[in-house]
């Protein structure tokens, strides 16, 4: 049978390890082995972005990363955005601006948007569109997603504002 690997990650601040097949995709590892179903599986070809998670601070498409490649890394998924202080501004922005409809693209969209804001706290509209160009949404037409990111940019905690 297929070789197995042990994968240890820090996910949303918690240390987790599991053994899985060496060929297992990170998206399936997160969903099935770690039980975090907020990250979705959409296309297998890195086009849609519903599987995006943050790996060591970099947004990656977890359908094209092997679980074994994530060994030792620190991962943030949608479930890790909320803190004891409440929702992350990006989550609140999506609620305030109606940035989601069916919600299926939303987790990857928000992780990508948060990464954009981490690197560029005050993006222009063009920069937001460009920063989210690896994400597909079939419901919203993107208008309100752009507004949600702008809302989040305007409501960042003091410490991260430039």
């Amino acid at each position: 049978m297929a070789a197995t690997v042990n994968v240890s990650v820090t996910i949303n601040g918690a240390e987790r390890s599991a053994s899985c097949e060496a060929r297992k995709l990170l998206v399936h590892f997160i969903r099935e082995d770690l039980g975090l179903t907020g990250t979705h599986w959409g296309c297998d070809t890195s086009n849609c972005g519903v599987c995006v998670v943050s790996m060591d601070g970099v947004p990656v498409k977890s359908c094209t990363v092997l679980a074994g490649m994530a060994d030792g890394s620190s991962i943030t998924t949608i479930e890790g955005l909320e803190t004891a202080d409440g929702l992350d501004p990006i989550q609140q922005g999506f609620i305030e601006c109606h940035g989601l409809q069916c919600g299926f693209c939303t987790p990857g969209m928000m992780i990508a948007a948060k990464s954009l804001l981490d690197h560029n706290p005050n993006p222009t509209e063009a920069e937001i569109r460009d920063g989210l160009s690896g994400q597909l949404c079939r419901c919203t037409g993107y208008d309100n997603i752009i507004k949600a990111v702008q809302w989040a940019a305007a409501h960042q905690p003091e410490s991260v504002q430039s």
Binding site: I95, C102, F104, G141
Partner: protein, 797 residues
């Protein structure tokens, strides 16, 4: 009727219509949605489907022995296995049959051949590689325009006596009157156009978890279906399962757009798999399977002709359509309408005569056709009329806005019966077009265009005006497989005044949990946060046909309004009893019955709910509690409409189209939650830009599907679309209890011709009148060189 200010609840929500944040977002932004692939049952197995690598081939043999020997495989189901159960073929929603798993032949690339059930999804996929199928490859029918040629291979030769690929001929309108109108015309313009095959491609693919309890005989089927009740009944009819022992549960759905209306072979196989293995079976499509095998959209080859006087008065319209339905006629639409609602193709204009003829044909492609927010093919109809009107404007040298304004139906003509028999309920079309032109700054845009043309720059302005027909539909006219298109609604007010409403329709992102709470709030004055909306579970909701064709608010929304009004009337009796007055003395204000002339003497709906459950002695014949049921049978469709203007810039060096602006004026009657309505319009506009510029499912000569991944089937990302400019007019429907008309598909229906008209307008200096979608850089470039492409075929015929 515009929305007036409504009071707000303690939580800050409008009590009734108004902007309100969505209730469902609380879970979605935390990753706590529960979609089909998130459902995991104890002892659950995983399935995968072996699919045909050929478009047309005879199956010589299938050997599953190596797959069955795989240590993690529990069962392999083939067509031969299903044949023993009488399930190798299933009826479609168009009274045809469709192979569940192929027995004799495969008829399209990607067709289902075998179903493997294993411990996990990777092992199931591994085992597909161990199934040996021997095929004798046959010549495929790929070009729909050759499907009826003498000597064309017969795709459905399993049907006794079938000697061709013809499915149906269907006509609407008056051919003789149309010919007479054409005979009196100064100008006749003809234009052939293809609405190519596209795909709804929701972000979440189709899937199911089937759980047959071997002891009770109860089947629990988790399925991301847009029509849970209709599916339950069809499973009962097809598989002979007792309907009271079938529970269909639709969880959160990651987008539908018509893709999740049909019953797919994978669902049936999952049920059989659960029966065979006595364990729950999960089957989830991957993206390629979704794009290659599930319900596609459009594929209409249309030849239009329009007749007019020389000063631009339209006299008649006719169209001859060749409809490519793929290998099985599986379109999901009201039974009496094999071409869906295409015969609404006369659109928004006033002219005497029209006629359409539609011929459906089989080809070696995936089945489907009615999907992708099409309102049962009104998408194709609007494209035809809006495109050919631009062709007529070009012929006559009249501005396309002026030509439309000259021919639009006038407000005083409503209700208006069209030449093909639709009764439009209400509208003020010129007002909507004027508003769109005002927002766009139409005259300034034309001036800018003229100036740019002198410098060789290609700027285009495209208009479309659409009339939708949604909310199917009146039982006397419309059914699907004999099931009338009415929808039920149950409302319960608990003793403390909190409410639960149960719907037959199923949200796929439309925000039902919010909108339907607002409808009940509007009728009863209960704050929307105190109203729980329940849908998606056939054991716990009333019967109805589901969410597609923009029918949730027109049909189920009316049912919600009616059921709440029933509760209000019952509350009135309880109020009269408690206040010791006559019901005739009571007056309603939001949330409260009070005595006429004595406003202090009254009871709130919450107080009345408690009284309804109390020991208060009620009049004879009045039952306690505060519940009601309703079934709404719509008297007519509702007819939303709108005026769209698109502005594009075309790069003369590359043929690349940039959508610079998009102005959308929609009239869907009063807006229950304007934020949700605007979101739906935004989404539809991107669909339209995608179809016009990027999206197509094409085939090569062997019948290979060339749109089988998101690398090949291109969808707009945030960088391909502009920020939208929306406008609104409000013309209530006279027959809907809330006046609302539905909006879910309006923008998808209305926007593609605006984009195409804009591109063709930009290319006017090249003397071009038409090019087929999608207007990719290659298509635009070739068009500029005088050689447009057949976008549906990747080969020269």
């Amino acid at each position: 009727m515009t929305i007036t200010e409504v009071p707000t609840s303690a939580a800050g929500n409008p009590i009734g219509f108004g902007r309100m944040k969505r209730k469902e977002d609380v879970r979605f932004v935390r990753g706590k949605g529960r979609y089909i692939d998130d459902i995991n049952l104890p002892n659950m197995l995983h399935a995968a489907i072996l699919r045909s690598p050929h478009a047309h081939a005879r199956i010589i043999s299938i050997d599953t022995s190596r797959a069955e020997a795989h240590p993690k495989v529990h069962a392999v189901i083939t067509g031969a296995v299903l044949e023993t159960l009488g399930l190798a073929w299933m009826p479609t929603m168009s009274y045809d049959t469709q192979a569940v798993l192929a027995t004799d032949k495969v008829r399209f690339h990607g067709q289902e051949v075998a179903f493997v059930i294993a411990d996990d999804r990777y092992s199931a996929r591994d085992a597909l590689e161990l199934i040996d199928v021997e095929y004798e490859v046959l010549e495929p029918v790929i070009d729909a325009q050759r499907a009826l040629d003498a000597g064309a291979p017969v795709i459905r030769d399993e049907k006794e006596g079938k000697t061709d690929n013809h499915i149906f001929d269907w006509e609407a309108g008056d051919a003789a009157a149309t010919d007479a109108a054409f005979a009196s015309a100064d100008v006749i313009v003809k234009q052939a156009m293809l609405y190519p095959r596209s795909h709804p491609a929701p972000m979440e693919t189709c899937g199911t978890v089937a759980d047959m309890n071997p002891l009770s005989g109860k089947l629990t089927l988790y399925s991301n279906t847009q029509a849970p009740h209709a599916h339950r009944t069809v499973y009962a009819m097809v598989a002979g399962l007792p309907e009271h022992l079938i529970q269909v549960i639709a969880p959160d759905i990651g987008g539908g757009f018509g893709n999740k209306v049909p019953i797919y072979p994978g669902y049936v196989c999952s049920i059989v798999g659960s029966i065979v293995t006595k364990r729950p079976v999960k089957w989830i499509e991957d993206r390629s399977e979704n794009l290659m095998s599930t319900g596609f959209a459009r594929d209409y080859h249309m030849k239009g002709e329009i007749a007019a006087t020389k000063d631009g008065k339209i006299l008649g319209l006719k169209v001859d359509v060749l409809a490519d339905h793929g290998a099985f006629n599986a379109t999901a639409q009201p039974t009496n309408y094999p071409a869906g609602f295409f015969h609404i193709f006369t659109g928004s204009y006033d002219y005497g005569a029209a006629h359409c003829k539609v011929t459906g044909v089989y080809t070696n492609k995936a089945p489907g056709g009615v999907a992708y927010a099409c309102s049962f093919r009104i998408t194709e109809a609007v494209y035809l009329v809006e495109r050919i009107i631009d062709c007529l404007a070009d012929e006559l040298g009249i501005d396309p806005a002026e030509l439309r304004m000259k021919n639009l139906l006038r407000p005083e003509q409503f209700p208006y019966t069209t030449p093909t028999g639709w009764e439009y309920d209400s509208g003020d079309y010129p007002r909507a077009l004027r508003l769109a032109m005002e927002i766009a700054g139409y005259d300034e845009l034309r001036a800018e265009q003229a100036e740019k043309r002198t410098r060789g720059e290609l700027m285009g302005i495209g208009i479309s005006f659409f009339t939708e027909g949604v909310g199917a539909g009146p039982r006397k006219h419309m059914d699907i497989l004999g099931l009338g298109m009415a929808d039920g609604c149950d409302l319960r007010i608990h003793p403390t005044g909190k409410a639960q409403i149960r719907l037959s329709v199923q949200s796929q992102g439309q925000g039902h949990e919010t909108t339907f709470a607002q409808i009940v709030s509007h009728e009863l004055g209960i704050p929307p946060e105190d109203i729980q909306v329940i849908n998606g579970d056939t054991d716990n909701t009333p019967f109805g046909l589901g969410t597609y064709g923009s029918r949730s608010t027109p049909v189920s929304g009316a049912a919600a309004s009616v059921v709440a009004q029933k509760v209000r009337e019952k509350a009135k009796i309880i109020a009269a009893t408690a206040l010791e007055c006559s019901v005739d003395d009571l007056v309603w204000e939001l949330g409260r019955w009070f005595v006429k002339g004595d406003p202090d003497q009254g009871k709130t709906i919450q107080e009345l709910a408690l009284l309804a459950h109390s020991s208060l002695e009620l009049p004879d014949g009045v039952e306690g509690h505060l519940d009601a049921q309703a079934v709404y049978n719509p008297p007519n469709l509702t007819y939303p409409f709108g005026a769209y203007i698109c502005v594009v810039d075309v790069d003369p060096g590359t043929g690349h189209v940039k959508v610079r602006r998009f102005i959308a004026v929609d009239d869907c009657g009063p807006r229950i939650n304007p934020t949700i309505v605007e979101g739906q319009i935004h989404g539809g506009l991107v669909d339209g830009i995608g179809m016009a510029l990027m999206e197509v499912i094409a085939f090569d000569k062997e019948g290979n599907c060339l749109g089988g991944s998101y690398m090949d089937y291109l969808l707009p990302t945030p960088v391909e679309v502009p920020t939208f400019e929306l406008g609104e007019t409000v013309t209530p429907s006279p027959h809907h209890p809330l006046g609302v008309k539905g909006v879910g598909e309006s923008a998808t229906v209305g926007s593609p011709p605006a984009v195409v008209n804009a591109v063709i307008d930009a290319l006017k200096p090249y003397g071009i009148r038409h090019a087929d979608m999608p207007l990719t850089p290659a298509q635009v470039w070739m068009t500029m060189q005088g050689k447009t492409l057949r976008t549906d075929l990747a080969f020269e015929d």
